[in-house]
């Protein structure tokens, strides 16, 4: 199990940290920049994030995002004025795709922001304390893992009403499980190492050991997992709204756009194919970047 990044030295040898960190950062960067697919992934992710952040300045027709109707401009094929064509009420598809990335990334940030801290904490506790804490947490995790996530998200949005907020809740409800699993397995191998024993002998508190000794050693694994996760959160969010159970129109959401555009296949293909490609490219970017980070940090076990 090569989960431990030998670069991130335990906090107890603090004098050695700065120099080691710099040379490590350099080494990591060297490895990363020599990996073409990782660089492509990073570029795609950067583009997606810039679209989300600077949508009003990048989008060609920002006034056409939601409640805009121009029936004279309906169903225009891709052209110089409208790179991705226009939709069934005459809105520029490219503009809506760019704003769509906003919604997708908002979903990613909220879902991961809720589920990673929760999942990581449970994983740390289960791995370090062992005993009944481990049994309770890991059995619960295993049960939660046995539920197909999209099906569970569907059930939850069925009960609540379908909108962005509830989609976020519905996806987060089960998302922590993977992080718990991952951190649990890392912590279990870490806790027998000398630096943890040393901290215990010096009388460090449980809090200190969990968050100052164990957690820093999980950071690279968490960041790889989070990057790969981002793609899958986008995927599951798009699937939800494709089924009409996520973000509701006229909010520009990529999954909803594919679903609406599907009514106009095959002749007016651009209305669903372009947003579909946009989802694909974003997921591809996060996957390539995640794979690259995994090679860089040397954390093979993170899937």
């Amino acid at each position: 199990m090569a989960v431990l990044n030998n670069g991130s030295a335990p906090a107890s040898v603090e004098e050695a940290v700065p120099a080691a960190t710099i040379s490590n950062a350099y080494k990591n960067w060297y490895r990363f920049s020599r990996n073409p697919t990782a660089v492509i992934g990073a570029v795609i992710v950067l583009i997606v994030i810039s679209c989300a952040l600077f949508a009003p300045w990048i989008a060609p027709y920002p006034e056409q995002v939601d409640n805009f109707v121009d029936f004279r401009a309906r169903h225009l094929p891709p052209s110089w004025e409208h790179w991705f064509g226009t939709d069934n009420v005459g809105r520029d598809v490219l503009t809506r795709v760019i704003y769509g990335y906003r919604i997708s990334l908002l979903l990613v940030v909220v879902v991961l922001g809720l589920s990673i801290p929760f999942g990581v904490m449970l994983g740390l506790m289960a791995g370090y304390f062992g005993g009944w804490v481990e049994i309770v947490i890991m059995r619960l995790t295993d049960i939660a893992l046995a539920i197909p996530p999209l099906v569970m998200a569907l059930a939850i949005t069925a009960v609540l009403s379908p909108n962005l907020m509830n989609a976020m809740i519905a996806i987060s409800v089960l998302w922590w499980t993977w992080h718990t699993r991952l951190i649990y397995s890392i912590t279990r191998t870490l806790k027998t190492q000398e630096f943890v024993e040393a901290a215990e002998i010096l009388g460090a508190s449980k809090f200190h050991i969990l968050f100052r000794e164990l957690l820093p050693n999980c950071v690279s694994a968490i960041s790889v997992k989070a990057t790969l996760d981002a793609g899958f959160v986008i995927l599951i969010g798009a699937s939800l709204s494709f089924l009409g159970l996520g973000v509701q129109p006229p909010t520009p959401d990529l999954g909803t756009m594919v679903a609406t555009g599907a009514d106009y296949l095959p002749d007016r293909w651009w209305q669903s194919v372009m947003p579909g490609m946009a989802i694909l490219v974003a997921i591809l970017g996060f996957n390539l970047l995640g794979d690259g980070l995994r090679d860089m940090f040397d954390v093979e076990d993170v899937r």
């Binding site: 046995a146 999209l150 798009a238 594919v258 194919v273």
Partner: protein, 340 residues
């Protein structure tokens, strides 16, 4: 004896998972939304009507006896009444499950038949062009949303080339009931209607491709890496030293232990496979449990939704139990150690 013990333990665990699942579903459906009776009747119903339905549904009883009543119903295979179709949820799911099952089985078969050999080839050609292009294809399969792939396939094969049908299980106008096994492909053969078997397969093809792309990619990659791991084992080195031909070495000594990771992955992937079945069925108008589930969800038909989620979970747990047993059979170390 060991194997029986292993089996018993896996079975017990599966039951525990199902109990957990039933508690979660019950909590979501009965506790979270407030009042199911109010939801069922809509905002226009009077207070008396709501109270009457509450009593009928047993909602006036304490929560734990409601749960026991729900589980009692589940154990007798009773999932309650659907508000959408006004029939019992059992019948509805019974009618639609076979279509989903057919699609999922076809997907699993296709994924293994394509994924494993492709992974073996990629491993034998490690870092060559075959390996690199298979890696790229696998990645595309994993990152393409199933609903988007489904739409692309419809455009390409259905509209542009016009070679394959894009909706349903049978052409319109053909009144054939799959009433023996529920699986179109099998039943048409059992009835001797081989012309319809061809039709059934043609209808099955596009949904299966859309659903299997991600799984094929995962299985291909994991088969590749486990073949490479196994090839570094001492006994493979020894067989090479003994001059055993490469083909026998690959297929007899390396493939069997390499089967374990793809099977395990298949079990894990099965969760997203069931999830994706929901979107793929919607795109292709496939009359399965998943499209029934989506319709009932949109109508807030809670009994039906709970039923669909429970059956999906049951299906997932059952498949994983089956895979555990298979893995235990293929790899004796698993059934002795009890873990994989």
């Amino acid at each position: 004896m060991e194997f029986l013990y292993f089996l018993a333990r896996r079975l017990l665990w599966s039951i525990l998972v199902l109990v957990g699942l039933s508690i979660i579903i019950f909590t979501i459906a009965r506790v979270v939304p407030g009042d199911p009776a109010r939801i069922a009747l809509g905002p226009l119903a009077t207070q008396e009507q709501v109270a009457a339905l509450q009593a009928e549904m047993g909602l006036d009883q304490p929560i734990h006896s409601q749960y026991l009543g729900y589980v009692g119903g589940l154990l007798q295979g009773d999932l309650g009444q659907s508000l959408l179709t006004q029939r019992s949820v059992n019948e509805d799911i019974g009618d639609t499950f076979a279509a989903t099952f057919e699609l999922v089985v076809a997907t699993v078969i296709v994924s293994m038949i394509i994924g494993v050999p492709a992974g073996v080839m990629a491993a034998r050609n490690k870092d060559g062009w075959l390996d690199n292009s298979s890696r790229f294809i696998a990645l595309l399969g994993v990152v393409t949303p199933a609903f988007f792939l489904a739409i692309l396939l419809q455009i390409l094969a259905g509209y542009v080339l016009q070679i394959l049908p894009v909706t349903n299980r049978m052409p319109a106008g053909i009144d054939f009931q799959a009433n023996i096994t529920g699986l179109m492909v099998i039943d048409t053969m059992l009835h001797g209607r081989f012309d319809l078997t061809v039709e059934a397969l043609r209808h099955l093809l596009l949904p299966t491709i859309a659903l299997s792309a991600a799984t094929i990619g995962q299985i291909m990659r994991i088969t590749r890496s486990s073949m490479i791991d196994v090839s570094r084992q001492d006994y493979i080195e020894a067989s090479r030293a003994f001059g055993i031909p490469a083909r026998i070495r690959t297929f007899k000594y390396m493939l069997r232990p390499s089967f374990v990771p793809p099977l395990t992955i298949l079990g894990l992937e099965f969760a997203s496979l069931i999830g994706n079945a929901f979107v793929v069925e919607m795109v292709f108008g496939w009359p399965g449990m998943a499209s029934y589930g989506v319709r009932t969800i949109l109508q807030k038909d809670l009994n039906a939704v709970m039923g669909v989620v429970m059956v999906s979970g049951l299906f997932f747990v059952f498949v994983n139990l089956l895979i555990d047993v298979l893995v235990g059979y293929v790899d004796p170390r698993v059934r002795i150690r009890g873990t994989r």
